[in-house]
Amino acid sequence: MKIPHIRFEKRLETPRWLPAVSLLVALLLAMLTIGIIFLALGVNPLVAFQRIFRGGFGSVFGLKETITKTIPLLLTGVGLTLAFKGRMYNIGAEGQLLMGAIFATGVARFLPGLPAIVMIPVLFLAGFVGGALWAVIPAFLKTRFRVDEVLTSLMLVYVASEAVKFLVYGPWRGTDTRGFPITDEFPAAAQIPQLAASRIHYPTLIVAVLLAILVYLLLKRTKLGYEIRVTGENPAAAHYAGMNYHKIAMLVMVISGGLAGLAGMGEVAGIHYRLRPPDSISPGYGFTAIIVAWLARLNPLAAILTSFLLGGLLVGGDAIQIALNLPAATVQIFNGVILFFVIASELFNQYRIRLEV
C-alpha cells in the first residue's frame, strides 16, 4: 500500500491575504479544540463562549476589568514584540514583571516621605530598572557564553517568584496584616490613582499606550530600530554590515524586561498597594503577553488590540470559573491552545503543503 507523503515546499512569496486568513483559521481551530475540552468537562461550549464574551466585554463592569488587565498585558506584550523582533526569545517576562513589583515595593517602603509628584515617577523608574536588571542576566549569558536565553529567562521566573514569597513571608511581611503574607499598605503618595468606580490605574494605561507608539516608532524610524530588525531577520547580514550584535541583544532585553517591570509596578502600586504572593500579583501576565505579541504579529501598535482581547479573555475566564464551576486552569488551557495554533499557523505562511501519493 502506498502511503501519501506530505511535502513542505518553501513559498517564494506569501500572498497578502494569507497571514490574516491563517490567523483567523488558527483562532477558529483553537476555539474548536477548546470547545472539545469544554464538552469533556460537561459544559456546552457555545454557552461557555458566550459567557466568556459577556464576562469580558458584555458589561461596563466587565469592560473596566478587561481594561485593568489590558495594562500589564500591553506593557509586557509591547516589550516582547521588540525582543522577538530582535530574535531574543525572552520567555521570562513573568519574572521581570515580579522583579519590577519588588523594586516598586522597595521604593514605597524605603522612601515613604516623597510627595506623589516625585513618588510616582520614581516608582515607574524603579519598576523599569527591576525588570531590566532581571532581563540583563539572560542577555549577558547569551552574548558572553551563548547560553540559550529561552532557558535562562524562563528559569529566572521561578527565582523571582521565590524572591517575592521570601519577602512577603519574611522581612517585608506587614505589621497590620493579621498574619497574612502581604506587606503593609503603600503610603498614599505611592498609590497610582484609579478612574472612579474601577480599578483602572489610568496613568499606567496612558504610559502603556504611549510606549506602544514609541516602540513602534523606534522600530520604524530609528537607526537602532533598523539594526534590531536586520539582526532579527538575518543575523549573518547584521554581522556582515558590522552591526554590534551584543549591543542590540542587550538593548532589546533591557527594554523588554523594563516594560515587564513597569507592568509589575503597576499591579502593586496601581491595584493592590502592597506586595503579595506572586500568584495574586499576576495570573501569568508575563506568559499571556507572549500570545499578545505573537497575535499582534510583533507589531507594537497591534498589541494594543490583542492585549485588550486577551485581557477580556482573562476576565471572561474568571467569569465562567464561577458561573459554570470550571477549574481555574481552564483559562490557561485556553491561552496555551491559542498560542499553539497561532504559532503553528506561521508555518503555512512560509510553506506550501502538498500531498503526494
Binding site: 524610524r221 530588525r229 536586520v230 554581522h239 554590515a241 558590522g242 554590534n244
Partner: protein, 519 residues
C-alpha cells in the same frame, strides 16, 4: 520517448534528468551511466549539479523530467526508503549520527529489529561486516569519541547493513586527513572487489585520478563527458570542469593603475574545521585594477575573503588597505576604511523579508542624510533608494517591495548597486554572476568595469574561469590556499592555468613591485 536499453553491466542509468529549483535549473538533462563494480567519480564545480543528481538517485528529491533505471528496471524513487529497497545507500558530506549513542546503536537506528535495542546479533553482524571490508571500528564506542574518518566508516556501515550494493558518497574526503583518505580509498576498493558499486562526488582532481575507474564531469547541470580514468589526466579534467569557451570580448578601457589599495602579506587563515585554508598568501591590488583569483572552489577563496573583510580571524600575516593595517579591525571599521564586499552567498548580505529600500541602505544607514542623530530619515531613505533603483536599472514594483520578490538578476544588481555606490577604495566580489542569465551577466560586468574606470581596486573571485579571464587585469591562481602563479591577463595560458588549478605547477612568486605595475 524511446531510450536505448541499458547495457547488461550497467547498474544505474539516469537519462535526461531535469531538476528545477525556484530560479535555478540544477540538473539540465543530465545523463549518467554507472557500471556494476566500478568506482565512478562525479566531478564538477560547486553548483554544477552533482549533489542534486545524487539526491535524486537517493530519493531525497524527485526529478522533474527524466528516467532512472536500476539494474535494468525503470524505477521511481520517491524516498530514501525506496532507494534503500533498491540497494542504494548514501553517505552525506555531513554525517548524520547521534553523538551520544554507540556505533552499533547508530547503525541499527530506525530499523525494525527486535524490541530490545541493540541486540547481540546486530553487534555481531556489524563486526563481521567491518572486518569483511577491512574497517577498523569499535562497535561499542560512542560517536563523539570517534575521529571524522571513523564516523564516516559508521555511515558506510549503516548503508551496507541496510543492504546497499551501490554506495553514493558526497565529498567523502572533505573532512578527512590524508591518512584517513588513504584508508577510505582502500575500503572502497575492497567494496568494489566484492561486486559493489561506488559513486563519489568530488571536486578534487587528484582523487579522481587516484581512486576512480571512470569519471563523469558536470558543468552547469549538464554532463560534459564520461571518461575512463586511465585515458585522461588532471589537466584535461580541469578544462572540462571549468569549460573552455571563447572569451567574451569586453570593451575594456585602458586604465592607468594607481597606488596599491589592498595589500595582503603572508596571510594564514584556518577553516571552520581548524585546518589551514590560506597559507602564507600575499597579493596586491591597485587602484583601477581588477585582480582575479582563479581556482577550483574550496581552495581557500572563501577564507581569504572573510579574512580581508574581518568576518574571520587570521592566524598570521597582515592585511592593509591604502597603507592602513586593518588586520585586527572589526568589520565595521573596515567598511569605514572603504572595504566593500559582494559575497558569493547573496543572502548573507541581504535581508530577504525586508524591503528593497531597507536593503539598499544596509551599509550607509548611519550616514547623513539617511541617519540623522538617532533617527532614520524616511524621506532620505526613499530618495536614496529611488536614486539607486533608477541609476542601476533595478526592476522592482517599488522600493517597499520585499527584496526576495525580485528576480535573481535584479537582486544581484541591487546588492552590487549598494556596494558600489558606498564603495570608495576596495570592492571584493565573489561569484558576481553565478545563476544569472546572459543579459544580467552582461550588465553586472559593465558595472564592474565602470567601477574599475573610476579607480576602484577590485578583487574578483569566481569559479567561472571565463569570467575571471574576461574581466581581470591580472590573475592569480589559487590552490590549497597558496597562489600558484600570477600574471597579467594577456599572458594567461589556459593550459598553464589548468595545471596550476590542479596543483601540478607553481611559478616562483614575482617581485611585488613589478606585479603591482605601479610607478
Amino acid at each position: 520517448m524511446t531510450i536505448d536499453l541499458p547495457e547488461g553491466n550497467n547498474t544505474i542509468v539516469m537519462h535526461g534528468i531535469v531538476k528545477r529549483f525556484p530560479g535555478v535549473v540544477a540538473n539540465d538533462g543530465a545523463n549518467l551511466t554507472v557500471r556494476k563494480g566500478e568506482i565512478h567519480a562525479l566531478l564538477g564545480e560547486n553548483g554544477a549539479g552533482k549533489t542534486t543528481l545524487m539526491n535524486i538517485l537517493y530519493g531525497i528529491y524527485q526529478q522533474d523530467e527524466g528516467e532512472i533505471w536500476v539494474d535494468g528496471e525503470l524505477t521511481h524513487i520517491h524516498s530514501p526508503n525506496d532507494a534503500i529497497q533498491l540497494g542504494i545507500g548514501m553517505v552525506h558530506q555531513h554525517y548524520r549520527l547521534v553523538q551520544n549513542h554507540s556505533v552499533t546503536e547508530n547503525v541499527i537506528l530506525g530499523l525494525k529489529e527486535k524490541f530490545f535495542f541493540p541486540t547481540k546479533e546486530a553487534r555481531k553482524r556489524i563486526v563481521a561486516l567491518a572486518s569483511q571490508y577491512g574497517m577498523k571500528i569499535d562497535p561499542d564506542a560512542r560517536i563523539w569519541q570517534l575521529s571524522a574518518g571513523e564516523q564516516q566508516r559508521v555511515e558506510i556501515l549503516k548503508a551496507i547493513y541496510r543492504g546497499a550494493k551501490i554506495l553514493i558518497m558526497d565529498e567523502p574526503t572533505s573532512m578527512l586527513t590524508p591518512g584517513e583518505t588513504e584508508e577510505l580509498l582502500h575500503i572502497l576498493r575492497r567494496m568494489t572487489e566484492e561486486g559493489n558499486t561506488v559513486i563519489f562526488i568530488t571536486h578534487k582532481l587528484e582523487e579522481v585520478i587516484e581512486a576512480s575507474d571512470r569519471v563523469t564531469v558536470l558543468r552547469g547541470g549538464k554532463v560534459i563527458a564520461t571518461l575512463d580514468t586511465n585515458t585522461t589526466n588532471e589537466r584535461e579534467l580541469a578544462q572540462l570542469m571549468v569549460g573552455r569557451d571563447v572569451l567574451f570580448k569586453l570593451d575594456k578601457q585602458v586604465v592607468e593603475t594607481g597606488e596599491v589599495v589592498l595589500g595582503v602579506d603572508d596571510l594564514c587563515v584556518t577553516s571552520d574545521k581548524g585546518l589551514p585554508a590560506v597559507v602564507d598568501l600575499s597579493l596586491r591590488v591597485c587602484a583601477g585594477e581588477i585582480y582575479g583569483i582563479a581556482g577550483v572552489s574550496g581552495n581557500g577563496q572563501r577564507e581569504l575573503v572573510e579574512a580581508i573583510t574581518g568576518l574571520r580571524l587570521c592566524s598570521q600575516g597582515k592585511v592593509t588597505v591604502n597603507g592602513v593595517d586593518i588586520t585586527q579591525k572589526t568589520p565595521k571599521t573596515r567598511i569605514q576604511h572603504g572595504v566593500f564586499f559582494v559575497p558569493g552567498e547573496r543572502w548573507m548580505a541581504l535581508i530577504p523579508n525586508m524591503s528593497v529600500a531597507d536593503n539598499l541602505i544596509l551599509k550607509n544607514y548611519e550616514q547623513t542624510p539617511i541617519g540623522r542623530g538617532m533617527l532614520l530619515d524616511g524621506a532620505a531613505v526613499a530618495d536614496y533608494a529611488d536614486g539607486l533603483i533608477k541609476q542601476y536599472a533595478i526592476v522592482t514594483p517599488g522600493r517597499d517591495t520585499p527584496i526576495k520578490m525580485l528576480s535573481g538578476g535584479n537582486i544581484q544588481r541591487a546588492l552590487l548597486a549598494r556596494e558600489i555606490s558606498g564603495c570608495c577604495s576596495l570592492l571584493i566580489v565573489v561569484q558576481p554572476t553565478s545563476g544569472l542569465d546572459v543579459g544580467a551577466t552582461e550588465t553586472i560586468w559593465q558595472l564592474l568595469l565602470a567601477e574599475r574606470e573610476r579607480g576602484t581596486a577590485i578583487l574578483l573571485i569566481s569559479d567561472d574561469l571565463k569570467e575571471t579571464l574576461s574581466l581581470s587585469d591580472r590573475v592569480g591562481v589559487i590552490f590549497e590556499g597558496r597562489i600558484m602563479g600570477e600574471f597579467p591577463v594577456d599572458e594567461a595560458d589556459i593550459d598553464q592555468i589548468s595545471l596550476m588549478m590542479a596543483g601540478s605547477l607553481r611559478l616562483p612568486p614575482q617581485p611585488v613591485a613589478a606585479a603591482g605595475g605601479q610607478a
